[in-house]
Symmetry: C2
Subunit: 362 residues, 2 copies
């Protein structure tokens, strides 16, 4: 383990996070640390079993370091050049799971260990405007932060503790949230070089991060959301509809056209052919997108970054979003249902009102 | 049992249908026959136990005649002056459960028994344009049909076989689908007189049936539908929404305004204050409307008569219905989910297509 290599801390040890960590490990251009919450003891003892379309079957793999949480990572005294976040981004979820709270200990300890050294935070997550909460919570100059955007196309699932099955090729797109930030651009390019495994994965530098995020939102805001609302895979959503056309004509396409209009309102042009592309891309694949899976598992969805933020931009720029708004307000209710089941909110059936959390006696 | 009294055949022995039958029986101005499908043997042996806010506790009640189905009712040789239908109206459901198919044997046998005598068909059901399929299936003049519209406000549930619990007062509104049809108007008035139980229930003649149906649709098209889509009672739909206002502002009110516009396009004025009325009417009652209950029980919803028909009228009259259309197309997918579970449609996961039912080998 050379100390000259950059050090990466991966936060999020789900199906996608583990492959991302293994890709860096396999390329052998960085020291790879992981925060592994639920499977910690298992991984420390046995490591991962990975069955991967990119890397074959790997047994007993362990990253260079494993931490139970980011507080432990911070206490290790290590400096982490890259903090790579693959956990879900749920701004309306519990505060301790918010991205800024999760990375805070490491941001602070990095600053203590080497106050002048650059820290890159790479958010491999869906949605738009996700960098804003990081910029609001941390002084970019004080902490020498580079904020990097990652958009990943991959199909990988955790089948059981420590057992990962990667079915779909890893394609990672990395860039600087602010393309004017020369340091961040360089850091993104460095990461791409560090992540590249010739003949195994596909990684590319992205000079126009925001375009790429809007583009991926076409699918997520229109299709991912709809499947979550009705609990059906994509082909069933198409086939069960009125004349087998209703979903496409009245939900998918109008929702995507609204995303195109919002992006246009901030000067980003999404090609209209993308609508056809995304309508057809999963029409033959019996596949449930992430929000649909979350709802089925009783987990919170990435609703605010996929629909809430685009709708807020639309409101500011006076772009009408009737279709997205309906999806958003309906999904807000499903999200509330999950929150109640998880005990995050409390509904009093006698008063038929939500209980004000601040007024609950201790 | 006087043969001079008019004879009523009640089809639909759920919580509402049984109270409707009992109301007629209690008034003692008609002979009351019922079609009892699932509880037939139980009722023939023990009769009903009814726990009613209108009539108190009634034990071992039996109507004058009980039939297993409408074919048996037709075979009895009786003439039924009133065919009272309280089953759900689901035009996209199995053909044998369609209203016209269910009543057909009795319409035909009535014609055989007394070709010149008038048959009144009273549809106590939700929705708009429900009389059309009856008029398309039967020659009104040949069968001397009077088509009557019933809108019922009541809360009554079947708790177990033969056990009915009526919690909410029975308020029945009856009129002629066609107010120009003098015979039907008279028949409706006769029914009102026959149904009235002074001091127990409330029944009234309705001179403007279509207005009343549109009015009830305000609630059903906007609120009933939304609760079904997200599987939550009305107060939760309100309280879980964005700023506790999102559901009202972005779903309930726009949907109701669209119903008002559709009704206006055919010359029916629904007062705009009705929107406030219906938004607040169940805001404090932890109550799941019918479509929500249907989905939870894995049953088909009355989707086409509550949303499909209004949207088709809107399309003809060029009234925009963005909110109702979204609800409709999303609920169509949930309806498809129920159909697949019930084996009414078949989806082939290999081809990711619905199987054409006509091409299934026997």
């Amino acid at each position: 383990m050379s100390t000259e290599k950059p050090s990466c801390l991966l936060i999020g040890a789900g199906g996608v996070g583990v492959i991302t960590a293994y890709s860096l490990f396999h390329a052998d251009r960085s020291n790879v640390s992981m925060v592994v919450r639920s499977d910690y003891s298992h991984i420390v003892q046995e490591g991962y079993k990975i069955d991967s379309c990119d890397y074959g079957v790997v047994e007993n793999w362990k990253p260079h370091q494993v931490f139970k949480n980011t507080v432990d990572a911070a206490r290790s005294g290590s400096f982490f050049d890259y903090i790579v976040v693959t956990v879900k981004n749920i701004p309306d979820g519990p505060i301790q799971n918010r991205v800024h709270e999760v990375i805070r200990p490491v941001i602070e300890s990095n600053h203590d260990v080497a106050p002048e050294r650059r820290t890159s935070v790479l958010l491999i997550q869906n949605g738009i405007d996700i960098e804003k909460e990081i910029l609001e919570c941390f002084d970019k100059n004080k902490y020498h932060l580079c904020l990097l955007s990652g958009v990943q196309l991959i199909a990988s699932t955790k089948l059981s503790p420590g057992y990962i099955h990667q079915k779909g090729l890893d394609h990672l797109i990395v860039g600087a949230f602010n393309p004017q930030d020369a340091l961040a651009v360089q850091s993104a390019k460095d990461f791409v070089a560090m992540y590249n495994n010739e003949g195994h994965n596909h990684v590319e530098f992205d000079p126009r991060v925001r375009y790429t995020r809007w583009k991926k939102l076409l699918y997520n805001a229109a299709i991912n959301t709809t499947t979550a609302l009705v609990g059906l895979d994509v082909p069933r959503c198409l086939q069960f509809s009125q004349n087998k056309k209703g979903t496409e004509e009245y939900i998918f396409r109008p929702a995507m056209r609204e995303i195109i209009a919002i992006a246009a309102s901030e000067g980003i042009t999404l090609e209209s052919e993308l609508v056809d592309f995304f309508v057809t891309i999963t029409q033959n694949i019996v596949y449930k997108p992430s929000m649909c899976v979350d709802i089925e598992k009783g987990q919170l969805m990435e609703l605010e970054i996929i629909l809430g933020n685009p709708i807020r931009i639309a409101a500011q720029n006076e772009v009408p979003t009737p279709t997205l708004s309906m999806l958003y307000h309906l999904l807000t209710l499903l999200q509330g249902k999950v929150k109640e089941k998880k005990g995050l909110i409390h509904f009093d059936e006698k008063t038929a009102r939500l209980v004000d959390q601040n007024n609950i006696p201790a």
